[in-house]
């Protein structure tokens, strides 16, 4: 394929595609769109998109959101000094101690498994790895074959 061929083909395809007239939209389209618009118009304001809310409602929503954000900020600033927060922190620490115990047990288990693997010969390990790789390749191959078969059947059906 030379550059002249490419540019000539590009120009021909460009002309052919740009000469295409618009496709006629289905006759059902306009009534369908107008029906959706009409149904939205009769919906209550709180079920409409935010920009379509009445101005006082939008203003009220903004004030409420701002107040909520301010209270969150204030809470985050003042909460660490309160007694209830300290009590909650101590309570949470109890939960985390349970998690720490679990983590230690998991670590011990992993360490034991690692030692057991080290005891096995290199040949056994390589054999296991090869078996896993073979199983993976088989799954991939079968999956690809099934997919191509499905696509070929669908394409044949479409034609």
């Amino acid at each position: 394929m030379n550059a002249n061929y490419d540019s000539e083909l590009e120009a021909r395809v460009d002309r052919a595609l740009k000469s295409l007239p618009p496709l006629a939209a289905p006759t059902t389209l306009a009534p369908r769109v107008m029906a959706v618009i009409a149904s939205r118009a009769v919906a209550p304001w709180y079920r409409q998109p935010w920009p379509a809310w009445p101005v006082p409602m939008r203003a009220a929503a903004l004030v409420i959101l701002a107040a909520f954000f301010a209270s969150l900020c204030l809470g985050a600033w003042r909460l660490p000094d309160t007694e209830s927060y300290l009590a909650a922190t101590r309570h949470a620490a109890g939960w985390f101690s349970g998690l720490t115990t679990l983590w230690n047990a998991l670590n011990a288990l992993i360490g034991t498994l690692a030692q057991a693997v080290q005891q096995l010969g290199r040949g056994i390990l390589l054999g296991c790895l090869a078996a896993v790789a073979l199983a993976w390749a088989t799954c991939l191959g079968l999956g690809t074959a099934c997919l191509r078969l499905a696509l070929a059947r669908r394409q044949a059906h479409d034609l």
Binding site: R12, D14, P22, A52, L151
Partner: protein, 185 residues
């Protein structure tokens, strides 16, 4: 004339343009109709600006393109992953010509309007991996770089897919003796 009536007239003016854009990208009438409806619902929210705008057509076309591409990525999430399979499948399909009415109507079918119909059909039968970048390049005027960015694929893949799309289109049309050069005559 009420707002709703004005919008309905606006819709009638632009519905073919928007539907064509969606249809050529999606190659599916039902999906193109859904996307067109979504475009006009967005247009209705901004009708105040659009009704007086000289660029309403461009805005509608851009929104239709964006929504169609979103639709492709959302509902055909594996499109990109499987695009190579589709591409190869399309290449295997070299000998399948565009279907047209009946052998005795060949002469009539090659009249200009029918030849355009053949191009339209051939375009819609291209695999998505070729059709989408081809439409974005030739009909929507995007650059190769823009297309690569929009589709999330490499620049090389975009160029290859567009070239394969042009070749597939040429082969399909040659198979029905509709030379691309004649199509614009």
């Amino acid at each position: 004339m009420t707002d709703a009536q004005q919008f309905e007239a606006f819709l009638q003016d632009y519905q073919d343009l928007v539907f064509s854009t969606a249809m050529r990208l999606l190659a599916n009438r039902a999906e193109a109709e859904d996307v067109t409806q979504e475009v006009f619902l967005k247009a209705y929210e901004r009708f105040g600006e659009l009704r007086e705008s000289q660029t309403a057509g461009g805005w509608l076309r851009t929104v239709a393109t964006n929504l169609s591409l979103n639709h492709l990525t959302r509902y055909r999430a594996r499109w990109s992953f499987f695009s190579e399979l589709f591409t190869r499948h399309g290449e295997d399909d070299e000998e399948s010509p565009v279907e047209f009415a009946a052998p005795e109507t060949v002469e009539a079918a090659l009249a200009a309007s029918d030849r355009r119909t053949l191009v339209e059909e051939a375009l819609q039968k291209l695999p998505p991996a070729q059709r989408v970048p081809l439409v974005l390049y030739h009909l929507e005027g995007l650059t190769y770089e823009d297309i690569a960015a929009r589709l999330g694929v490499s620049l090389g893949k975009v160029k290859t897919d567009i070239f394969r799309g042009r070749e597939a289109l040429r082969r399909k049309l040659e198979a029905v003796k509709a030379d691309l050069l004649d199509l614009t005559a």
